[in-house]
Each structure stands twice: as C-alpha cells, then as structure tokens.
C-alpha cells in the first residue's frame, strides 16, 4: 500500500529534455514542482570526466547510459499474428536512463520539421489525391508552423544550436537549407567547421545541382552562454559522441543546459531512482490526482498533485497511459481507441564508399558534425507516379570511428584472421558513408499495447511493439538510396555498397532511437490522445509530452521537435491553463 505524501502543485515524470524544460518553465511561474526520474542523477562534472568519458567498452558495447533491460524493456513482433518476445539487450534503439535521459547520448542533430509536416495528411491528400496509399494512416498534428516556430526558436537558444539558416522570414539564405520553414532568426551559433568527408560530399552534391548545408548541430561551435545562464564549450570533435555523454560541455542536453539552473530553484525538487508506477485518477476519470512511485528501497509512495506532466521516453509515456487506464487502448482490428495508435519509427538507409586514395581521419568527428541536402526529403520532390510518399535527410556526419566497433570492411571480407586485419588497415581511414535518415509513416497495424505475457520485475506488463516497415516506406527507401548512390558514384569510389531498408523490421541491429507515436496529438479526440497543447483529451490536468505525440515521423531527427513541444505545452499551461484550469480546447 502506497504511503500518501503531502500534495504539490506539479509532478513531472521523467527528467530528460521534455521534463526538464517544462519543469523549469513552470518553476518560473512560482509553482512547486517535483520531478521524478527512474534513473540516477547525472551531471557532467561527476559522470563525464574527460579522462574516462571516451570508454567504448563501457558506453558503446555495455550501453552504460541506457536503461537496464532487466528493469524495463519492450516486447517485439512484426505483425498481429505473432507472439511478441522481450528484447533482452538493446538493439534497434537505445532508451536512456537518469537525468538528461536519451538526450545525454544523442547525436545532436537538430532539425525543425517542415511546415507541411504539421498538416501532412491534408497536404498529401491535396497534392496527390487518390494516389495516396490506403495502407497509410497519416494525420495532421492539430497545430501549424506559425504556432511551432517560436518554440523551435526558444529551443535553439536554450541548446545553442549551431547552423546556417536557409530561410529567415521567407528570404532564402545562401548556404542554408532552402527547404526549411521560415525562421524568425538566424541560429544562435555559427555552423561547426567541417571535416574532410562532409566537405567532399558537399562538393559532389553541389556539382550535381543540389544545395548542401551544414547539419544543424547541438554540439556547439563556440563558447556559448544559453538563455538560462548555463555555459557550454566548443565541440572538440573527440569522436566519442553518439552513445556517450559529453565531457566538454559541448553537446546540449538537459544536464548541460537546463538542470544546473533548475536544480538551484527552491521550488523544484528532483526525485531520482524513483520509478513512477501509474498516474492516479479520481472516481470521475476526468481528473488526475497525482502519481504513485517506488523509491530505490522498494517503498511505494503516492504523490498527489494539481497538475501531472508525463514526459518520459515514448515507450514509458504510452505504457504509463495504458497502465493507468487513460484513453481507450487502440485496437487495430476495429480501428478504434487512441492509446497506442500511429506508432512509427525511422527508415535508415546508407551508401558506403571505399576509396584507395583518401584519408578521412575518421576518428575526428561528432554526432552532428556534417553536411546534408534535403532534395529527397519528405515532400520536397514531386512524388506523382512514384507509388510512395515521404523521403529522407541525406547527409554525411562522421561520428568518430572508435577502435572496437569501427571496422568498415567491403562485403565478403573474412570476419577474423589475417585477411580481416589487412582489410581493416586498408579501409579504416579511407572509407566514408552517406546516410539517408528517412520518414516512417503510420499504418493501421503498427501500434503499441500492453504485452499479455511478459512483465517487469514489479509485475507490470511490458509494452508490446507491433511493427513492420510499410510497403510505402520500402519503396521510398529504394528510391532515395538510388538517389544517394548517384551522388556517391560521382565521387569515384573504388567500391560502393548501398543499403536500403528492405524486408521486415529486424530488432537486433541498431537503426535509430527515433521512435514516435502511440499517444498522438491532433484536432479530434476520436483519433488523437492530446490536443495541440499536449493536454490529454478529457483529463485537463494531465499533459503527455514527447515524441509519443508525433502522428508519424518525417525524415528528420525528432529531438528539436520534442523540445519545441515541451516549450509549447509549458507556454499553454503558463499563459492559459493556470488562468482558467480546464479543457483548453473543447470539441
């Protein structure tokens, strides 16, 4: 039986990007806030020592920053006809743990979604009409670019994003991404300097008539003090970035940009190593009354609150809603219910190139240091007659080439022995890859639910993922990979190896942690879970924030949009909800 604690104004579940941003915004409103985090307190000074942060065994192989699967994992299957099995070590994706969450070990690529994304279903229906495949369950977001832009700008300033604007107030800017939505201002920091491989790619892309631009980066290019007074230092291109915490205060995360300021505020308390078990509701089912959590000693506590913000990783957001009975669980057979609906992923493609006469010094790099083009992304090209919609962000971002895992070898190379060693020496420094991080569009049969068989150590059902790549996305993958191949060919490699996402989803190899949907935002409570303020339909004092709100995933990395949605929800609470508590949108 949970012991009841004195009530507080707000509880925030999860202290990654979304939770930290919202907690900080609401703390400025003078509210008393308790933030809950299932993992430990993480802090650059204590956890990411420059003398030990570059530990590939610890952070990459043993996944030290990710949640332990014995504590919490998901079960997986490709279709409703299969029995799902639990993921016992992280493969396909890397859920984080501890303050900062997955934002500690992310790559730092910080795109804004394009204006047409927020009305994707309407946009594509208008443009392609009946050509649009009935397989897809695309939806509009219930918001638009004009509403989103100020919050993207706010995040850029918080995280010190480094880049070159392509469109300021409708005026196209030389050197930036001409496909981006109109920005209100230039990036707060100039682009990072480029290493050799991205430079070469940009030249080749330019020669083919494309418009290369520096990938927007949360690894800052220069010394920066953010909007909260927190200082960041320039990226050193150390090459231990994705899957690692940053020891140089260069990679923006909640722990490098928000928590140092937030934790000083007397009206904020962080409860770490405390796992939230469920959201508690009153008997009407229309009001959240707080949360129940378990502390590190296994003691259960009930924390009552006036306002509940659930801002954990997507899996836990959706699972907590299912465990708390909030919203009707989605049923793919009847196509009813909203909790678990429109689960989507990211479609990863690449073309690897082997050269004889190049030295890329691949150990120099960072997760978001690179050049990209957007000609084949989303609806930036005419899809008429192609038989698919969507596309991907094409780019070269060498993240570093750490000694254990970096073995770029041509197909057919033995996996051990002297031939393998020789091939490693020959190819390690002279190989580069062009990636294409492509869209993942929702279908009726891709969804999230509670697993009927497998439970976590506390006896709660695990979250079950039912997912496979839609036909639409496979066609798209083949097409964009072909386009990337044309650029690669123009660079005259000795050998090129294209890899486009074909066949079924395989959960074993790492692909992307860009997982979306399951508790999506929209304008209609019949097919969405939260309104455009991230407020749960029918439970006005509950907000659920994260990539769980995306109705589908464009060909971009999600973090910038997760953070913008967090600012958006906080703004709605500050400027509207606190003045008139209740449903901000009535339908």
């Amino acid at each position: 039986m949970a012991k009841k604690l004195p009530a507080t104004d707000v509880v925030v579940v999860g202290l990654g990007w979304a939770g930290s941003i919202i907690a900080n915004e609401l703390a400025d409103e003078g509210l008393s806030i308790i933030g809950f985090e299932r993992g430990p307190w993480r802090d650059t000074a204590a956890d990411f020592n420059v003398a030990s942060a570059a530990d590939e065994l610890r952070y990459n192989r043993r996944q030290d920053l990710m949640v332990r699967t014995r504590q919490n994992t998901t079960t997986i299957r490709n279709s409703v006809n299969e029995t799902a099995l639990p993921m016992r070590s992280w493969g396909s994706f890397h859920p984080g743990n501890g303050t900062g969450g997955a934002g500690n070990h992310w790559a730092g690529i910080t795109f804004r979604f394009q204006p047409h994304e927020f009305r994707l279903h309407s946009h594509l229906s208008e443009r392609y009409g009946k050509e649009l495949s009935p397989e897809l369950t695309l939806q509009d977001w219930g918001t638009d670019w004009e509403e989103m832009e100020p919050f993207y700008a706010k995040f850029d300033r918080l995280a010190g994003i480094s880049g070159k604007a392509g469109n300021i107030k409708g005026v196209i800017q030389e050197g930036g991404n001409p496909f981006e939505g109109a920005r209100s201002e230039e990036y707060p920091n100039p682009p990072t300097q480029q290493t050799y491989a991205p430079t070469l790619f940009a030249e080749a892309a330019k020669n083919l008539g494309y418009k290369p631009f520096p990938v927007p980066s949360a690894l800052v290019s220069q010394s920066y003090v953010n909007s909260l007074g927190v200082a960041m230092g320039p990226c050193t291109y150390c090459g231990f970035c994705t899957n690692y915490g940053c020891a140089n205060y260069s990679k923006a995360s909640a722990i490098t940009t928000v928590l140092p300021a937030l934790i000083r505020k007397p009206n904020f308390t962080a409860m770490t190593n405390c796992e939230v078990l469920r959201v508690t509701m009153d008997s009407s089912g229309k009001k959240a009354t707080g949360i129940v959590y378990m502390d590190a000693n296994g003691q259960e506590w009930e924390q009552p609150a006036e306002l509940v913000v659930v801002s954990a990783f997507i899996f836990e957001n959706v699972r907590l809603m299912l465990l708390s009975g909030i919203g009707k669980p989605y049923d793919p057979v009847t196509n009813t219910g909203t909790t678990g609906r429109n689960y989507a992923y990211q479609t990863a493609n690449s073309v690897r190139m082997f050269f004889d006469d190049k030295n890329f010094n691949p150990f120099i790099g960072g997760g978001a240091i690179g050049m990209g083009i957007d000609e084949f992304n989303n609806d930036n090209f005419d899809h008429s007659g192609l038989g698919f919609v969507g596309g991907g962000s094409t780019r070269v971002t060498p993240i570093g080439a750490a000694p254990i895992d970096s073995r770029p070898l041509p197909p057919g190379t033995p996996t051990w022995g002297s031939e393998w060693k020789k091939a490693t020496v020959k190819n390690y420094a002279s190989t580069m890859s062009i990636g294409c991080e492509a869209s993942s569009y929702a279908t009726r049969t891709n969804y999230l639910s509670l697993d009927p068989t497998y439970k976590d150590p506390l006896g709660r059902p695990l979250l079950r993922i039912t997912f496979d790549f839609p036909e639409n996305d496979r066609k798209m993958a083949a097409y964009v990979t072909g386009k990337v191949g044309e650029i690669a060919k123009s660079m005259n490699p000795r050998q090129m190896v294209p890899s486009s996402q074909q066949g079924h989803w395989n959960s074993a190899p790492y692909q992307s942690s860009h997982i979306v949907g399951g508790f999506i935002m929209g304008a209609d409570p019949k097919n969405s879970s939260v309104n455009k303020h991230l407020q749960v339909w029918g439970v006005p004092n509950l907000f659920v924030v994260g990539s769980s709100a995306f109705p589908q995933n464009p060909g971009y990395n999600p973090t910038g949009t997760v953070a913008a949605l967090a600012f958006k929800a906080a703004d709605a609470i500050r400027t509207r909800y606190l003045k008139r508590p209740g449903e901000m949108i009535s339908v």
């Binding site: 927190v230 200082a231 960041m232 140092p260």
Partner: protein, 408 residues
C-alpha cells in the same frame, strides 16, 4: 564643563537611537543592513556548517598550529552569544576580545574587522539577534598545548594587531575608500590572500600578494606583480566576484565557496568599489625569465599537455570563457607557489555555482593516471609557456601534495 557636554551629547545620541529603533521600518532596515553586512563578511564560512542551523558554528579551521572551530553566534544564552551586549560584540570585532575580555584567536579575522565602523557593527548585531537560537555546543579551541593557552595571544596581538576603525584616505575617491573599507575590513580578503609570518600573522607589507592555505594558493590579487591581476579590467573583477567566472578564470576551492556564500550577493556598487581599489596603482611589470622550451621537463610537459589538457584549455592555453580557465598569463599559474595547480591536477576541482553562472564546471582528477613526474612536467610547461614564467615544479613537490591529499 567638557565632561558635561560629552554626557549631554551621549544622552541625545542615545535618545535618537531609541527613537530610530522605535519605528518598525527603521528597525527592519537596520536588520536588513546587518543581514547584508554578514553576507559581505561571509560569516557563514566559519559559523555555519552546511545543512546545520544558521550561525550555529562548528566549521573546523585547520591552521598550521592545530584546529579551531567557528563559534556558535546565535542568541542561545548557553552555547551562543545570547548573554552578550552590543559592547561585547563591538569588542570582539574591534579588539578581538570575547566575553569577559577572553582573547580570540586570529582565525577570527578581528585584525581586519577592527576596521569595521561601530555603526556597521550595530547593524550586524541587530541582525544576529534575530536569527534562531541554536543550542549546538562548539569547542572552539581545539589547539594543542601550548597554543591553546590564550595568554599567548597577548604577545601575538602586540606583533600582529593594530586596533582601529578604517580611516578614509582624503586623497582618494569615495569609491576607492569604500573598496578599501570592504577589502581591508569586513571582506577580510587578506585573511587568505596576504602571506603569513611564522606565528600566523599577516605580513602587512605584502598585503594581498598571495598565500597558501591548506594546499590551496590564494593568489596575488594586487595589480602590480607578474603573478597579479594586472591584466584584469575592473569589469573582469566584478564579473568574477559576481558570478565566479570571467574570461580569465573560474573560482574553485575556497574561493568558489566565497563566491557562492558571499560575493555573488554583494551589490554591484560595492563590487565596483572593490575593483577600483584593487586596480589602483596598477603598473606593468617585467616578466621573469621562463624555463627554456628545450628543457627536458618542458618537452615532456608539452606532450602531456597536448594529450591530456588541450581539449579543454585549448592548445594555446587560452581556455574557454566561463568553463575552462585561461592558463596564459593567469595569476595562479605564475604564482611562485604551485600548490593549487598540483592539487587540482591530482584531485580535480569543481567551480562554484551561482545564480548568474549556474554551470559549476569541473576539472577532473588526473592523480590516478599521471605520475608525480608527469604532473611536475606538465605544470612546468604550463607555467613557462604563452608568456607565463614561474619556477619549475619538482616531482618532490607533487609527491608532498599527493601525500597531504591522501586520507590518513
């Protein structure tokens, strides 16, 4: 007649004071002024243990002569100073006398506090009367024989103590005089930054030129020496004291505590006065001759610096503003005494966190994977490159600091 006039004036003064005290607003203002002054004086540094009631004492000061503990200065009549009168307090501040004339040790910086005006002491006293009484019992004198005998302090005071309120220098501006009053008086900067003689008294002729306390070097903060703050502007000084960080340096160790507890809360006006005073009389000095770049220690140190230090402090020793201290031409780096440098390389150090600069970045410890010789070489290199010039560091000095830092 003269006596009578004085008495009259005294009576009038007293009745005026009582009239002031009688209005709530004035009494509030007096207490608030006292609160600010205790912050200026950083009284909590010695009189409040972290997490314990305000001013309940017990903070241990490890002096070269043994341990002293900060007293309980709450209004508790038994364990605090509840039985004291204002005059007793005034005596403590100006004369270094406790109740009944008991002499205080110089760890209570009355050699500086003697300069505090009686008026300011009245405000401090008014504030101290308002804090919650705590019955925390503190044994302040934990010194070994013979230092624990307080009569020894009579001689100490004769040599080291000059009683008397601050006297303004009419040749200088009001701002300069305010700065001098704060630095020499309540701010008691010299307690750490002025070299000590053999019996622990300030060498006043070397006021603020740097000293070593518990293996932390409090650097030269005058504007005159090669190892001083001549390159800092007044704005740099203000920013450092207000936020703990400026384009040159970041406070760590005891100075980080000072910034956190005290100077970040000073008014900008007071900080500017301090800066004006410290910068007065700045003059360029000829640099000492650095150790030759060809010296084997310099060659080895250069390689270690490139591998282990340059990612943060940058290859040219410029550092990164607000995060990683600049090493080129830094006062601490050029100090004759390398103890602080050795200490932070071996054990690491974390900067203070302030409202204006909450980051609190850290220098990681390298003692676990750099040998005494490695540390000596890299520090010799840092102290003699980019315009720096300071004596080479020996591995014996590193060994000494390593031993001092090892828990016994």
């Amino acid at each position: 007649m003269k006596t009578l006039l004085t008495v009259c004036a005294g009576v009038i003064g007293l009745s005026l004071n009582m009239a002031h005290a009688a209005t709530g607003a004035d009494s509030y203002n007096l207490v608030e002024k006292g609160r600010y002054l205790t912050t200026l004086g950083d009284c909590t540094a010695c009189h409040t243990m972290p997490g314990k009631p305000l001013f309940s004492g017990g903070v241990i000061l490890d002096t070269p002569f043994g341990k002293l503990a900060g007293a309980n200065i709450t209004p508790d009549p038994v364990n605090g100073i509840g039985r004291w009168s204002f005059e007793d307090f005034q005596n403590a501040m100006s004369k270094g006398h406790g109740l009944d004339g008991k002499r205080l040790y110089g760890a209570m910086p009355f050699t500086a506090y003697t300069k505090v005006t009686r008026e300011d002491n009245q405000a401090i006293w008014a504030y101290l009367r308002t804090v919650d009484a705590s019955d925390n019992h503190v044994e302040t004198n934990q010194l070994p024989f013979p230092f624990n005998v307080r009569t020894s302090l009579i001689g100490w005071n004769l040599i080291n103590f000059k009683e008397g309120e601050f006297k303004a220098n009419p040749q200088k501006s009001e701002q300069w005089n305010r700065g001098a009053y704060l630095v020499e008086g309540l701010g008691h900067c010299g307690t750490c930054h002025t070299p000590k003689n053999l019996i622990g008294g300030d060498k006043n002729e070397q006021f603020l030129t740097g000293a070593n306390l518990q293996n932390w070097v409090a650097p030269n903060i005058t504007s005159t020496g090669h190892d001083g703050i001549g390159a800092w502007s007044e704005a740099d000084i203000v920013k450092y004291l207000k936020t703990g960080a400026n384009r040159f340096d970041i406070a760590s160790g005891p100075m980080a505590e000072e910034v956190e507890h005290s100077s970040q809360h000073w008014t900008d006006q007071d900080l500017m006065a301090v800066a004006a005073y410290l910068k007065d009389g700045a003059k360029p000095v000829e640099a000492a001759k650095p150790v030759a770049a060809t010296d084997p220690a310099m060659v080895a140190g250069k390689a270690i610096y490139a591998d282990r230090c340059s990612a943060c402090h940058t290859p040219n020793g410029e550092g990164v503003a607000n995060l990683f201290p600049k090493l080129a031409m830094a006062p601490l780096v050029n100090s004759n005494d390398p103890s602080s440098l050795i200490r932070v390389v071996l054990a690491g150090s974390r900067a203070g966190s302030t409202d204006a600069a909450p980051t609190a970045p850290a220098m990681p410890a390298f003692g676990w994977n750099l040998s005494d010789e490695n540390v000596a070489d890299v520090l010799t290199y840092v102290r003699n490159t980019w315009g720096n010039a300071a004596p080479a560091v020996s591995s014996a000095s590193v060994k000494d600091v390593r031993e001092a830092l090892t828990p016994k």
